[in-house]
Amino acid sequence: MEEFNSGEEVVFNPDEISVSVKECVEGVIGGTDYNQSKVNQWTASIVEHSLTHLVKQGRPFKYIVNCTIMQKSGAGLHTANSCYWDTATDGSCTVRWENRTMYCVVSVFAVAVAL
């Protein structure tokens, strides 16, 4: 079922990914304020939608999508990640988004599927 576009150069394109992820985030939490009761739904749907978009592209990648929503309360947040993979074909991209009341960080990791 998974028919990858074989024959194409399989390289991860972070810019394209970040654009589509940003759109996803906008769509889910675009005009809203931080809401404790809804934030679970939000993270789940951001991850789902992002992943859907990624998979729809049909590239031979394994994806890992991570979404963090943090309320703006004056605290600081620092995260970092690093990977050990095939740097030629694999890649990751991190999208940061914020509004008046919250921060949202979505990280997408794409590991090329060994065909």
Partner: protein, 596 residues
């Protein structure tokens, strides 16, 4: 779960079709063999189709793999493609070079919370621990212990750090620098003022209000006392050997009194002019504020509508302004020493007007009167030469404005005459002369006790001729002359509350209180100052219950006036009208006799 069921499905699918299954197996083995021949490890056939696992909402049905055959196909096709696309697959399969990716960091900086707090408390471990616990909600009890523990660890670390930082000896230079820094100086001034007050306080906590232990208490004796010495202000450094030149009570804080002093001949290095603000409320013996300037201060007063400013007129003709908000003891503003301003000693300064329209009026001994705006002392707003009959400049020694009047005023001069003058209008300058004194006029005071009847046309003058004279602006001859004193009378002032009461002081150290409703021949109350110094100035407080006197030894005495004297009864005004009428009659009679 979907995956599992589907796996189950696959499994069942596989078991139901028996020979299909063996077929499949055979095909698989063939594929493996093919792959192995190419050199590719056969892990692909066993690869499960990719499945997304989510929490509850499993929306990805279309991503769930269909039954086996497509996967077979894909395997097959993959194998096929890999077979055909040998070159393609080769490098990917063989040399998979793995490397470390760059570290991706995400930073959200904490918001800087600006907070101001006057209290500091070094956090003890126990305190922060309990704070943490108090803040957390019940729901998060499970998570509470780990953060609390973390905090304790942090506090331990901080404690160690504090111990390391704490006692670090400063070098001499650093200490000096700190002692001279602005912050320290202003703190020290404020702090020392407060501590002085506290130390001087002698409150009798055992006082029994029932009066049982009032045996020899002065209370009984004082019941009839008229003038009692309350406080005496002097300062070893600042007032010794100086003469008190002027006194003024603060309109805003009834306990503050400013006294100006002239120079100390025995101390040439000390500033020549000193003005001290004394505080009646606390028992501390030192002044509240100390101000000084380069030239002797001949007159001083609180600026009426500017509670923080003290105005001084000096011997050099300069008018200086001190501000108690600044930490400086020297004036914050000065008028220039130019011909436009004063070049002779300024004996009179006064702020007249209203809150919104006020001027500082100053007159120097050469007859020049300047009016200033307190915001700008670089040049006078207006100046006027006080000359009598177009030629004789008036050497002004004292000045007074009647109650409520900002235009007309009276001045007393060295030649013994009193003049009325006005500031504005076509006839600005000296209007009339009141002759009567035989010596220089030393003090003037306009009637200022407001009441049912208006006596603002009355004023009194004191002079070197041993007399105090009562005048009315309506007549150029004195209404009455008070001749009880045997020495130069240096100052006189009407009570601000009682219409018929005034005080005067003389060179013999005597303070007299005259109540015209009682007696016009002798003072109602009289007291001698200890040591009989020459009393230079007398000033009623704004409440009319206290009198401050300044003497030639640099001391300021504050007397409490007995209530039966200083508090006017309701009929005082009408009685004074009668008294005045009597005085007028007497005067007219005396004149007739003299003329006859």
């Amino acid at each position: 779960m979907c995956g599992d069921s589907k796996r189950g499905g696959e499994a069942t699918g596989g078991s139901s079709a028996g020979h299909e299954d063996s077929d499949l197996e055979r095909k698989r083995r063939e594929a493996e063999a093919l792959l192995q021949s190419v050199g590719i490890t056969p892990d692909v056939p066993h690869a499960q189709p990719l499945r997304v696992v989510t929490e509850d909402t499993c929306l990805f049905h279309y991503l769930v793999p269909a039954p086996m055959s497509p996967s077979n196909k894909s395997v097959g096709s993959d194998a096929g493609s890999q077979d055909s696309g040998d070159g393609n697959a080769g490098p990917r399969r063989g040399a998979v070079r793995l490397g470390m990716s760059k570290v991706t960091q995400v930073d959200f900086l904490p918001k800087e919370m600006v907070s101001y707090s006057k209290e500091t408390q070094t956090p003890t471990e126990a305190m922060t621990h309990t704070d943490q616990k108090a803040d957390e909600e019940e729901d998060e009890e499970i998570t509470a212990p780990p953060p609390a523990e973390d905090n304790q660890e942090d506090n331990d670390e901080q404690g160690e750090q504090q111990q390391e930082d704490a006692p670090k000896e400063l070098t001499e230079e650093e200490k000096l620098q700190l002692l001279h820094s602005d912050d320290f100086l202003s703190f020290f001034e404020r702090g020392s003022r407060i501590v002085e007050r506290a130390l001087a306080e002698q409150v009798d906590v055992c006082f029994d209000y029932s009066g049982r232990d009032l045996e020899d208490k002065e209370g009984d004796l004082q019941a009839g006392a008229k003038l009692v010495l309350n406080r005496q202000f002097a300062d070893e450094r600042w007032t010794k050997n100086r003469v008190v030149t002027c006194l003024d009570w603060s309109p805003q804080y009834p306990e503050l009194l400013v006294a100006s002093y002239n120079n100390n001949e025995d101390a040439p290095h000390e500033p020549d002019g000193v003005a001290l603000v004394w505080n009646m409320k606390y028992k501390k013996p030192t002044p509240e504020y100390i101000f000084h300037c380069q030239s002797e201060v001949m007159s001083a007063g609180f600026a009426k509508f500017h509670p923080n400013l003290v105005v001084g007129g000096t011997y050099s003709g300069q008018i200086v302004l001190w501000d108690n908000r600044s930490n400086k003891r020297t004036p914050v503003q000065r008028t220039p020493l130019s011909a436009a301003a004063h070049t002779h000693p300024v004996y009179c300064v006064n702020v007249v007007g209203t809150q919104n329209a006020n001027n500082l009026i100053s007159i120097s001994t050469d007859g020049k009167m300047c009016s200033w705006s307190l915001d700008m002392l670089s040049q006078p707003q207006d100046s006027l030469e006080l000359v009598f009959k177009q030629s004789k400049a008036v050497a002004v020694t004292s000045m007074a404005f009647p109650l409520g009047d900002v235009n007309n005023f009276v001045v007393g001069s060295e030649d013994g005459s009193v003049y009325t003058a006005c500031r504005h209008g076509s006839k600005a300058g000296i209007t009339e002369v009141f002759e009567g004194h035989h010596g220089p006029v030393t003090g003037l005071s306009c009637h200022s006790a407001g009441g049912p009847v208006d006596f603002s046309h009355l004023f009194i003058s004191s002079s070197f001729d041993w007399t105090v004279k009562l005048w009315s602006t309506k007549s150029t001859r004195p209404l009455y002359s008070f001749e009880d004193s045997c020495d130069y009378v240096y100052d006189a002032m009407w009570s601000p509350t009682h219409p018929a009461l005034f005080a005067c002081v003389d060179l013999a150290g005597r303070l007299d209180l005259w109540n015209l409703n009682n007696d016009t021949e002798v003072p109602t109350a009289s007291v001698y100052v200890d040591g009989a110094p020459a009393l230079n100035r007398v000033r009623w407080s704004h409440t009319g219950k206290e009198i401050a006197t300044g003497d030639s030894e640099g001391q300021v005495q504050v007397y409490d006036v007995g209530e039966q004297i200083c508090v006017p009864k309701a009929d005082e005004w009408t009685r004074f009208v009668r008294t005045l009428a009597e005085i007028n009659e007497n005067r007219d009679e005396a004149e007739e006799l003299a003329n006859a």
